[in-house]
Every structure is written in C-alpha cells, then in structure tokens.
C-alpha cells in the first residue's frame, strides 16, 4: 500500500507535532493493512488511509488550548452534507503556516481531502501563506491519487475553510489589506443564481451551458445572463480542470 510521507516538522514545533501523530487506525483495519488484505475500493489507498487515519484532527478542547491557533475558519453546514472547521498556527516571522487542526462532517472523500490539505500546508516546515491561498481543489485531488468525478465537489470545502482561517489570521493581526474577499455575485436576476452556484455546478461535473442549466436552472427566465454564465463556465473549467 502506497503511503503518504508524514509531514516534517521543525524541532521547536514539537508541541504542535505531538497533536498530529496520534494513531487513529481502527484495529481491524490495521490488521488488514498489515496483512495486505485491504481490498479494492471505490477510493484510492491514499484516500482510504486519510479517511481511516485523519492527520491533524482536533480531538478535544484541551488540544485546541495547547495549539493556541492564530486563525480559524468554518465553511458549510451539516444540513448541506458537509461542514469543515480549520484552525491554523502561523510562523509570523516567515509568514508560513506551521500547524493546522481540523474537524469535518462529511463523506469519506470530504474527510480525506481535508486531512490531506492539512498535510500539504504543514509539510516540509510549513507553506507560505501566499502559496496556501493558491491551493485549488484539484491540487488536493491530485495528492489523493484522484477522486471519482462525482465526488470532486466533496473536496472544495477544505480550501475554502483554509482561506477563511487565513483571513481570520489577517484580521487578528491587523493585516486588513491582505484579506481576500470572496463575495458571491448574482448573475441570474430572476432566480438569484450567483457565480458561486455556477462554480459549484462546474465542480460537480457540468462542463457546458446546457449541463449547468440542468443543475441550476440558470438562464431559464433571465436569458440576458446567458453570455455571462457561459463566460463563467469557461473560467471555472479553466480554474479547476484546465491547469
């Protein structure tokens, strides 16, 4: 079984590191993995591994106190099927993320992709904030060794909650000029459909106007928005699948 390299943490940050390596593997799974008996699944071995052994999981209020986070972000709701909470620790001098804790309500791939994201931003001594802000869902999917197409949307909340946590850090430290606002803009006036809805539809596999309309009903009443919607679809296709 292919395993992800465990993240490297500087010695002086060993207190953060302690929180990260608590083994979480179910004993039955452990035995199966050791015996090489883990059978083919819908998901890759990396996804399974992160699902069964989430890295950087926040386990208790005590953990959080010890962690002393610099930023917190939360996206989604249980009602929508996904909710992700993320806490980050910043090396202020070097503008790097050096620690991250998370909690996720969601399916296997949602849990695995948040876990993987926390590894990506903290490995090799931590990621520069500027770099972390650029992480796209497909970067996470790539590291997971792919996700089934229709599970792709399950990986989009992690990067959103990360950006929220980073904004929270900027706010707490008075770096207001660095805050990135991600506002939704209404494109279909009749049905109040926003660019975010178009983004979601593209992420969910709708790659042309007809498919997006089928999912969102965009442009059914307000036909004037169709050219703009087509533009957005191209933009998000490029953003998520093109690069």
């Amino acid at each position: 079984m292919k395993m992800e390299k465990e993240e490297m943490i500087d010695d002086e940050l060993s207190s953060v590191n302690e929180l990260k390596v608590i083994p979480m593997r179910h004993k039955d799974v452990e035995a199966k993995v050791k015996a090489g008996k883990v059978e083919e699944w819908f998901y890759t071995d990396i996804v399974k591994d992160h699902f069964f052994n989430p890295r950087n999981l926040l386990r208790s209020d005590d953990d959080l106190k010890k962690f002393a986070h610099d930023g917190y972000g939360s996206v989604g709701a249980a009602a929508c099927g996904d909710k992700m909470d993320m806490w980050i620790k910043i090396d202020k001098e070097n503008d790097k993320i050096i620690g991250c804790l998370f909690k996720t309500f969601g399916c296997g791939s949602a849990i695995a992709s948040t876990s993987m994201l926390t590894v990506m931003i903290t490995e090799n001594g931590g990621m520069l904030i500027e770099q972390a802000l650029k992480i796209k869902p497909q970067d996470i999917v790539k590291r997971l060794g792919d996700l089934p197409q229709r599970k792709f949307h399950c990986s989009v909340l992690g990067d959103k909650s990360l950006r929220q946590a980073i904004n929270d850090y900027f706010r707490r430290t008075g770096q207001n000029d660095r805050i990135v606002i991600e506002g939704a803009q209404v494109v279909d006036m009749a049905l109040k459909i926003t660019d975010k809805d178009i983004e979601e539809a593209v992420l969910d596999g709708a790659h042309d106007f007809e498919a997006v309309q089928k999912k969102t009903k965009v442009g059914v009443h307000d036909k004037s928005c169709i050219p703009k919607v087509k533009e957005l679809i191209e933009f998000y296709k490029q953003k998520y699948y093109g690069g």
Binding site: W41, P54, A78, D82, T104, F105, S109, A110, C154
Partner: protein, 406 residues
C-alpha cells in the same frame, strides 16, 4: 430454505436480491438447444412449447395474485411496469377531461419521474404529503380527489424506510368517492413479505418485479384489471396483448414465477424470522448508540427494513467504514451516495431536517441474513459512529432534529 454463505454481510436486499438457485435451475431449462428456447409467437412445435411454458407461468402467477391470467402483463422491470401503468393510462386518456393524477411524495423515482413527464404533456399531478412515518393518510387522499382525477398511484411499501401503506383502505376511499378513479400500487418491495392478493387489495393495477424476490433481474409484471384500457409504450409485434411488444423473456418469466411461488411458500416463516432480526437490530443499535432516530413506522413496516439516522455524522462515511471494517453492505440516503447533491427525498418528506437525512443508513435483511450477521453490525457500528463523531465538528441536540412541527 436455500442456504448460502457470503463473505460479505449483505444488508441491501431492497436494492436487489441474489437469484435463488432453485430459480436458476428452473430458468436453465428455457435457454439452451436441448431446452425450451422457442419464440412463443412461432407457429411450430418448438414455438408452441415456449408458448405453453409462458401460458403456464402466467396462470401460476395469476393463481398467486388471485386474478385471471389475462390480467397479467410481463415486462422488463418494475420501472417498465410503472411506466406502462402510468403512461399507458395517460395515453389512453389524452382526449378525456380526466387529466389529474394523484401520487405521494415518497414514491420511487420511477413513479415520480414518470409523473413529472406526464405533467409536461398536460396532466396535472398532486404529490401527497405523508405523515411522519411516511404513510399516506386516507383523508388526505380523499381530499385530493376531484372529478378530473384519472389515476391514483400509491406505493404499497416504501423502498427506503419500509413503511407499509394500508392499500385496501386507500382503495376504499377512491371507490367511495364515486369519482371513477383507477388505482395503481407499486408493490415491488411488498411482494414476498405482504399480501399481494388482488381480491384483498382491490387495486386496478399493480407492479411487481422479480429482482427483489430472489428472481432474475430484468423481469417485471403488471397486473391490469380486466376492462382497464391502456395504450402501449412499446410498440411492435403485439406480444402481451399488444401492451408490451418484443419477444417474451420466457426463461426470465418462468424464473420470476418460480421465485414468486417460493416466496409465497416461505413467506410466513421468513416474515416471522426477519421481523425478529429487524427488531433485534433496531433495539440494540438504539440502545448502544446515543442520538439515533428510527425512520419510518416502528411496527407498520416491512419485516426486512431498518432505517436509522445517526446524528452528527454523514451516511456515506458510515457505510464505507462498515464496509471496510466488517464487510457490511448497506445503503444510505445521504447526498453523497446519490447522483444529485440532494439527500433522500423520502427522509425529507417525513419532516426530518437535512442533517438527519444525510446521516441515514438503510439495512435491508434477506434470506442470507443470520443472527450472527446482525450481531456483527451491533458489534462494530457503535465504534464506527463514535469514531466519526470524533472527526465531526457537528454536535446537535436531539430537540433540533426531531420532526418539524412535532
């Protein structure tokens, strides 16, 4: 009863069942060159043997349903039977004033999508709300009936939460209204467990399929009361009284009827056995795991169905963990297991909030299910839920997730 042993613990029998070995053995006689392989429509001795087999199977099915053999049409699936019933009735009434159909919000997609299609052709459809158990209230049906109502289609037992509608009572409401309404019931989940005798049910049309009762996939049946006029949706050589053209699937039909007979013979003992196992499973999971809700009616439900919502966790994650850890195969009403982004329309129709629908798991027991299987579920599930709750940031109070308005 046939004994089989599986490596996995298969608790998804409402999705489909395996084909019983006795059924397979029977079917094999109707395929190869030394068997009965002819076209029932051929006027030669080979064809006549096939026609005789088909006639015989139809008569045996009629015996079980308590109807005339001419009232049975064999189709390619439950979905096709439903389409033939709904579209067939609608097509025969395109020029009539009666263009209103009543169904319920918890029907199978085959009914709901067909109704939606019929709306696009000019029919008006009423989708009845159900109670908190998923049942259609007779008074709600009565209130929805109008002079324009042509057809009512209400499922016998729900495929997701297992709640069993009182079909004779619902039929009575239609008859007593004097509105000349046809009644169709989707009995795909009911067959094998409940009374499917037409005389007792009083319905005008009824759908059953083979792949839910240990018969082969790809065979369905539609009972059509004598005198009810339908127009076909598949046109061609005029087989099945012109209502379903295409060479009859003789082996499949013979297998279906054999499966139906076995299911009827073993019904009483199997219902008793599964009801006990079902209740044992529900009771133990609800005792051993905090914050669990039972979806569907506690008693008026299919003997093989247990549908539970585990609060604060997501169904697909539960399913995957159960599958990986103990080989348990179940299904979930979570959005992540559906093709759309919406969770189960059935669980939502019970008045449950979205959070609860996302965390629902359906266990459907069957002939292969043993007490040891159920014990395994009871053994591993509490730990799985605990583990997923540790990962989850959600911690709802039970008051927040109880049915709306309750």
């Amino acid at each position: 009863m046939e004994k089989i042993s599986l490596k996995e613990i298969y608790l998804d029998n409402a999705a489909t069942t395996y084909t019983d070995k006795r059924v397979v053995d029977e079917m094999l006689k109707y395929m190869s060159g030394d068997g009965v392989y002819g076209n029932p429509g051929s006027f030669n001795t080979i064809g006549l043997k096939a026609k005789k087999a088909l006639d015989d199977a139809r008569q045996r099915a009629a015996n079980i349903l308590g109807c005339n053999s001419s009232e049975i049409i064999f189709t390619g699936s439950g979905t096709e039977s439903i389409n033939l019933a709904l579209q067939g009735i609608a097509r025969a009434n395109m020029n009539s004033k009666k263009k209103h159909i009543i169904t319920s919000k918890v029907e199978h997609k085959a009914v709901l999508e067909t109704c939606e299609y019929l709306e696009s052709t000019g029919f008006k459809v009423t989708y009845l709300d159900v109670d908190e158990f998923g049942l259609v209230k007779p008074e709600k049906l009565g209130a929805a009936l109008t002079d324009e109502t042509l057809l009512v289609s209400i499922m016998y037992a729900n495929n997701e939460v297992g709640s069993v509608n009182n079909i004779p009572e619902l039929v009575k409401v239609c008859k007593e209204s004097g509105k000349k309404v046809l009644f169709h019931t989707d009995a795909c989940q009911a067959a094998g467990y409940l009374d499917i005798n037409i005389k007792n049910l009083g319905v005008d049309l009824m759908t059953i399929n083979a792949s839910k009762l240990y018969g082969p996939k790809g065979v369905g049946l539609l009972y059509i009361r004598q005198g009810v006029v339908l127009k076909p949706i598949i046109i061609g050589g005029g087989q099945e009284r012109g209502l379903r053209s295409g060479t009859e699937n003789v082996a499949g039909i013979v297998g279906f009827v054999k499966a139906l007979e076995i299911a009827e013979q073993e019904k009483n003992s199997e219902v008793k056995r599964l009801t006990e196992l079902r209740d044992y499973l529900i009771k133990n999971l609800m005792e051993k795991i905090p914050k669990v809700l039972l979806n569907g009616h506690p008693m008026q439900r299919l003997p093989n169905n247990a549908n539970l919502s585990f609060i604060d966790v997501e169904g697909e994650a539960i399913m995957l963990m159960m599958n990986e850890v103990a080989g348990i195969c179940a299904s979930s009403g979570s959005a992540c297991t559906s093709k759309t982004l919406d969770p189960s329309h059935v669980i939502l129709a019970l008045g449950r909030p979205y959070e609860v629908a996302h965390g629902s798991i359906r266990f459907t027991l069957g002939r292969s299910t043993t007490k040891a299987n159920i014990d395994k579920v009871i053994e591993v599930l509490p730990g799985i839920i605990e583990k997923l709750r540790e990962i989850s940031p959600v911690n709802l109070k039970m008051e927040e997730v109880l049915p709306i308005g309750k």
